[in-house]
Symmetry: C2
Subunit: 373 residues, 2 copies
Amino acid sequence: MANVLNSGIKLVKNVGRYNVGASSLDELSGLLTRLREQAVCDGKKSGVIFLVDQYFKADATLTDRIALQVSDVLEFIPTKDEPKTDDIDRLVASLILKGFSEPAAVVGIGGGITMDYAKAVSNLLTNGGNAAQYQGWDLVKVPGIFKIGIPTISGTGAETTRTCVMTNPATGMKLGMNSDFTVFDHVIMDPELTATVPRDQYFFTGMDAYIHCIEALEGSYRNAIGDAYSRETINLCRQVFLEDDMQTPANREKLMVASYLGGCAIATSYVGLVHPLSAGLSVVLGIHHCVANCIVMRAMADYYPAAYDEFWKMAEHQRVKVPEGVCQNLGEADFKALYEASIMHQKPLTNALGENYKSILTQDKVTDLFKKM
Amino acid sequence: MANVLNSGIKLVKNVGRYNVGASSLDELSGLLTRLREQAVCDGKKSGVIFLVDQYFKADATLTDRIALQVSDVLEFIPTKDEPKTDDIDRLVASLILKGFSEPAAVVGIGGGITMDYAKAVSNLLTNGGNAAQYQGWDLVKVPGIFKIGIPTISGTGAETTRTCVMTNPATGMKLGMNSDFTVFDHVIMDPELTATVPRDQYFFTGMDAYIHCIEALEGSYRNAIGDAYSRETINLCRQVFLEDDMQTPANREKLMVASYLGGCAIATSYVGLVHPLSAGLSVVLGIHHCVANCIVMRAMADYYPAAYDEFWKMAEHQRVKVPEGVCQNLGEADFKALYEASIMHQKPLTNALGENYKSILTQDKVTDLFKKM
């Protein structure tokens, strides 16, 4: 691929603190006690907002494990679709109506979608206005409410990154609140929380970490720390997905760490060709991000040959069926829409293919790629 | 070695933000401007404390590059000996006398010693009292002054860790302010700053990162994230020290990243046998930490055989002469002192050899090891 250039990403905000290891969730209660006490000292209420993946509705033990108090509010987050700006605005308005305009903390417990909701809600409560106003880079003005991320599935890196994915249906824009203030103040990585993730979902989501690090390492915008994080993320993914049982406790801990470090990698680098095409599948066909990435890998033999081989070896080893033929009944207008939703991602495509990426990725070429999926 | 046990280290505080890459030092001026403005808003003075390795006394360009202002104070830090608690107390007293009790920031520019001074000064200015009061775990009560670490040599990981090495001559105790408040708020990693480091020192200090990660990975107290950081640190050290020119700009950037990630590794794991013996050499013979580690490697063939081979291969490849025979003229009392200064490091020695480490490391055995150095 192209020459190595400096990534130009010079300033990185880290997650404030993190807990790691089995039963780390037990640490949440003490952390919240300190935050509640601080809130009361500051003349605020001690209530906490919990945003929890709807998957845990059925888990009767959860309220105990998070030490839910009567002064708190818990909202289950639907994860059928990625967050829309309107959904976030409605959630914020309802929380304010319930008296949670200045909570002691916002806790997001779930996958990328739920954690992204938590990031956005935290920022909007202190910054005011609507989610759409903050779609872009460094538009958030002041720190959000203290935000805690607790991943229950591994791979997206949402627990580490400085953005939260949001789609604005009015403008069609899929763009997050890209800000240092979006980074979690605290992350709790408890691999016991991923014990019940269905096999396929575990694989698809875990592969998000693998794929974005492959893209970063093959790109032209690089730096030594991003490369280091990417290499080790890929190494951990290999350990997990080339082993017979990818879901042992030790492998779940490794994948949780891979997800966290993969997020650190993205923070100092860029994705490449997979993510733009995957975004096309999400925007036009409504396919979820992580499975969309895996579907795109069907067309990546010429672009990431070593990763292509390894990816399919892992999928086969884990006996995971990646959807196939998702574009087979589409018409010309659909392919045009897919092309447009993909080609707009200038920075990743330049990273992968150089500045003349549009002459390489013609509409016909992109259509051919989607037809392979 | 022993079975793998959970490290028990569950909560980790990260460096707040970091800059990375050539010319990153240029970002300091803007960062300080924001901190100065904030200080004035808060009704404080805008002056900044710069603690700079004495090595840079001769560098006439430095004051420009750090945007030194007349309201600031710059103290050169002697690096002949590791910080003593009294030295730190005297420095803090003199800074307060000069009117810097509430500066806008404390900036440490140098190696581990200078950065450790900056951490300690920052904490003492807000917490009061003497340095010796805070030797131990979590004794620092409130956050220090905003602290910025700017390494000018790579390896110790002082830019990342939650401690600062200090020796108390009155008690003989070498123990830092082990606290989340000791972690830098901001780190600037500019590999241009390590361009003038002498070859031997570059190697000895860089090897601190390699050695503590080897110790961590061979230990029994472990976790997935510590292992990940250690593996990648070792990988980067291999890239640097097995190449012909270890000091190219790219290799200096890699070693700077290795140092940072090595610090992250220590934060979630423990060292092993090298560091306790190295501490013996420092305490009894006054040998600096990083070269002492390398000297200890002379006696490590039986304990870390693979790392032993690789270490000496790197030293040979870089044509670096590790001091030899440092214990050859010592008497019985000296060897007893060396034994006692080493064997007191319970946690690392348990990590390396198990709970019965004292029955393995008898005084005769330890004396034999020192005689190999």
